[in-house]
């Protein structure tokens, strides 16, 4: 076959070529991308592989909790808080209970406080476990995730034993717990304390010094302490940037002052630091659970506040006064004082605040949730500017943005 000869008139001369235009690519990351781990959208402007700028669109699962709360009696709002950070619902539940208890000035007995601490720290472990193992999945290390999921299942079984639910727990009540820790629950927690360390250790051995994992995460998505504070970072993400702010220590609630634990702090605020802070926090949480369980005080598990705490069923059937209280509480007709209160707890992602204004009615006049994810997620474009798309996914994953908390 003869060579095809290009005819002279088919070859465009330089002057005929269209001028080269540099154009940025627009890339939609989300809203239902598997790597966003929730429904929110990022519109990224890409120059080749590098991210030039980004813009987030959120609100895909906005459920207007703050509006709904203005119609609900206090105890029914607990179910709304479940659905914010659903990876650690008990923290949200107890945070809300403590806010109302602060408003009503109820003193919760020590035993209930310790049980709450146990459940909150277990919730923190399951929250961090998810975040770190999913971070591993995003770097390509799938097996670590599968190893630790069994332990999260164990935590959910403990929830189930304590409150009957697994994910949206609705745990506890205003004034204490709805029931005491059963012997099965205590046995399961003890078992967890015994079996969790080897699993976490194995997970650490898989990840922490893994060359590939380190190369993928060190210096990825860093944020300076100054910027982190300006962006309202709290929780593990702020601690990774180098400030030891922890609500549990600074404003102790629910007897956290009784326990001995350390606050891990990072230096550079990059993905690897965030990962390490979360790993260390799991060890510390385990330490707290162990201390709380060993020193679990005897006594009642609910406060002596008959106007606000549902009486035992046996009482309701035999005692007129208990019946009246039961009716009033179920109908939401409790006498709340007027006032405004802000209460914060250390949630899985940072300072989870409840700003409650009560006008003395059956429902809050105004309830605002300070959701840590919502506040720090706005830093994401700045953190991934100039990085590649695959690094941006790791940054997002290590920030642990939970869509339910983001949108409320």
């Amino acid at each position: 076959m003869a060579d095809i000869e290009l005819l002279p008139h088919n070859v465009p001369s330089n002057s005929e070529l269209p001028e080269l235009v540099e154009e940025l690519t627009t890339l939609n990351l989300g809203p239902t991308h598997p790597a966003t781990h929730g429904i929110f959208q990022n519109i990224l402007k890409m120059d080749g592989e590098k991210i030039v700028s980004g813009e987030q669109t959120i609100g895909y699962i906005h459920r207007a909790f703050e509006k709904i709360a203005e119609r609900r009696p206090f105890y029914q709002i607990t179910t709304l808080t479940d659905r914010m950070n659903y990876c650690s619902s008990p923290i949200n539940n107890f945070g809300w209970h403590m806010t109302v208890e602060k408003l009503l000035q109820i003193e919760v007995p020590k035993r209930a406080q310790y049980i709450r601490v146990i459940m909150m720290e277990l919730a923190r472990i399951s929250d961090h476990l998810i975040c770190n193992s999913i971070l591993g999945v995003d770097t390509g290390a799938f097996s670590g995730f599968l190893y630790v999921m069994q332990k999260r299942e164990d935590i959910y079984e403990i929830y189930e034993e304590v409150c009957g639910a697994r994910l949206t727990t609705n745990m506890g009540r205003i004034g204490g717990m709805e029931r005491d820790l059963s012997t099965t629950a205590i046995r399961k927690i003890r078992e967890f304390i015994k079996t969790f360390p080897p699993v976490l250790k194995e997970f650490e051995q898989l990840m922490s010094r893994n060359r590939i994992f380190m190369d993928r995460t060190i210096n990825v998505g860093p944020i300076s302490l100054e910027r982190a504070l300006s962006y309202g970072f709290t929780g593990p993400n702020l601690r990774a940037a180098g400030l030891d702010y922890d609500v549990r220590v600074m404003n102790p609630y629910s007897s956290y002052e009784d326990f001995e634990f350390d606050i891990p702090v990072g230096q550079s605020g990059d993905t690897f630091d965030r990962y390490n802070v979360r790993i260390e926090e799991m060890w510390q949480s385990l330490k707290i659970v162990e201390q709380a369980l060993n020193n679990l005080p005897e006594g009642p598990y609910y406060a002596d506040a008959p106007e606000y705490y549902l009486p035992p069923k046996k009482e309701v059937y035999s005692n007129m006064e208990a019946l009246i209280y039961h009716f009033k509480i179920v109908m939401g007709e409790i006498d709340a004082p007027q006032g405004e209160v802000y209460h914060a707890v250390e949630g899985g992602n940072g300072e989870l605040g409840f700003y409650l204004i009560s006008d003395g009615g059956r429902a809050p006049y105004r309830l605002h949730f300070r959701r840590p994810s919502f506040i720090y997620y706005q830093a994401f474009p700045e953190m991934c500017k100039g990085s590649t798309l695959s690094d941006a996914i790791l940054t997002m994953s290590s920030l642990n943005v939970i869509a339910g908390e983001l949108d409320a």
Partner: protein
């Protein structure tokens, strides 16, 4: 440890009658100010050498439909990590002139919190770089958290439904 008294006196000395309605509900120093002064107060507390109240914990709005000329309130919660001191600032504005200066110049975190407040209440933050709705759709033509949009009353009796009777 910083006391409420100390900060209140310092603010009174600096801003005079522009700060008023001092309260301490549940131990948290609360005070009101005007929208003309709010940014200078935020900046004063932020830049203060001793106090360093330089963390914006929360920013939100509240609607008081019965308040004459002060139907809306913007609430700022600030925190000093150095002294572990919290303070709450309130700014009342009227519905007819629903403007507040933005705090985005001081705090990057104010950006979305102000957008959320605008989204819920329609409070306009002057100077905000990108004041759009954030959680609701952009086509929405009302501000849902205002009290004139009540949720359905759970105890109403005027609805009758044979199967799902209320």
């Amino acid at each position: 440890m910083l006391s409420n008294q100390e900060v209140a006196e310092e603010l009174l000395g600096k801003f005079g009658d522009q700060v008023y309605d001092f309260e301490e509900p549940y131990g948290l120093l609360t005070l009101s100010t005007t929208r003309e002064e709010i940014i200078s107060i935020l900046e004063f507390l932020n830049k203060h050498k001793n106090y360093q109240i330089s963390f914006l914990t929360d920013l939100t709005g509240v609607h008081y439909p019965d308040g004459k000329e002060r139907e809306f309130m913007v609430v700022y919660h600030l925190h000093s990590f150095v002294h572990n001191f919290r303070i709450r600032l309130k700014v009342f504005i009227s519905e007819a002139d629903i403007h507040v200066p933005t705090a985005t110049g001081l705090y990057a975190s104010a950006n979305w919190m102000e957008r959320e407040t605008y989204d819920f209440y329609g409070i306009l933050f002057d100077g905000h770089p990108d004041l759009r709705r954030i959680l609701n759709i952009e086509e929405m033509d009302y501000f849902p958290m205002r009290k004139e949009y009540p949720l359905e009353d759970a105890t109403r009796e005027d609805k009758s439904d044979a199967l799902f009777g209320r």
